[in-house]
Symmetry: C2
Subunit: 192 residues, 2 copies
């Protein structure tokens, strides 16, 4: 057996959550989709909430892996670095639309506490925070409050990702790609 039952459950849960919503998906339907008994599901996860939480952490970690390869790049030129991070993140969302959708559902739902979300953000997306701080120090970015800027970045990223997922034909359209990055980048800049 190549994939463990636990992983099958997580995969099926992601698929169902992202299409039907988290609350609207029963544990029984997850087990059925994973070709597993409900007893097995509750053997691996003490309850539904823990299953959601574990899936959330796994996906957030997965996204963070898109950023790490770029950490070693030259950081003197901020814009090209930001552009490759932006495109990496967008490509990830386009490749795994279910992960993005679930990520969004989990963020908006009250299943995870604000604290849990903030912790996951700080741990996994620390690279982004450092980049914002660096840009503010060099004067490339406006000196706005960092929490506000971080939330704004996340919001613009989710917005652009959803657009590409809903309009697959435009995925590789350079005009659209440039436009989305331009808005993102300009938002961070100081008033000229």
């Amino acid at each position: 057996m190549k994939i463990s039952k636990k992983q099958q459950i997580l995969d099926s849960a992601l698929s169902l959550f992202s299409t039907k919503g988290i609350d609207a998906t029963s544990t029984a339907s997850i087990a059925k989709a994973a070709q597993v008994a409900t007893g097995t599901l509750f053997h691996h996860f003490p309850n539904k909430q823990r299953l959601v939480h574990q899936l959330y952490l796994a996906i957030k970690h997965d996204l963070s892996l898109q950023f790490t390869p770029l950490q070693t790049q030259d950081t003197n030129e901020l814009e090209p670095l930001a552009k490759s991070l932006w495109n990496n993140a967008l490509d990830w969302a386009i490749q795994y639309p279910q992960k993005l959708k679930f990520f969004q559902l989990a963020s908006v739902s009250q299943l995870l506490s604000v604290q849990e979300q903030a912790d996951a953000m700080a741990q996994e997306l620390g690279v982004i925070m450092q980049l914002i701080t660096k840009g503010q120090q060099s004067g490339d970015f406006a000196p706005h409050p960092i929490e506000l800027v971080a939330l704004n970045c996340q919001a613009q990223y989710l917005s652009a990702s959803n657009f590409y997922i809903d309009n697959p034909a435009l995925t590789n359209d350079q005009h659209y790609r440039d436009a989305s990055f331009c808005m993102f980048w300009n938002a961070l800049r100081p008033l000229s």
Copy 2:
């Protein structure tokens, strides 16, 4: 009796939906909170989905009313107009945090079809679309695809609103207000 039972049901539904989530809120709990029998609820709304839909439309309309008083203003100067629209919308969200929360839940959940959401957007928020078009024609804004720009505006608005709702102490902090508008406005501008 000042408020109709139907309105009591809508009010209680909004309150419960925004705190517990839509799926996680039972019709029985809505009826109980509204001090009404379940039979009464189903007399006014054929089913739960219709109740959600009706609430969604009412709230979207409520938001749109924040924009109409400004339509008659002088539109030669775009930035001050945009700033007052931005602040109006933020103030509305801060005053009615439950409405914003529900609005977000309904947008992300699959309860409303993409078409229904787009229709409501076009009808109620047409003012915003016209403003974007006008800015693009005058050269104040970059000529990005309008759908992309509209979604970006909505995302930044929701992001800023959530921040203020989660941090009530900063509601009237001018530094934060200016920062959030600066990001929003800059995102729309062309590359300098």
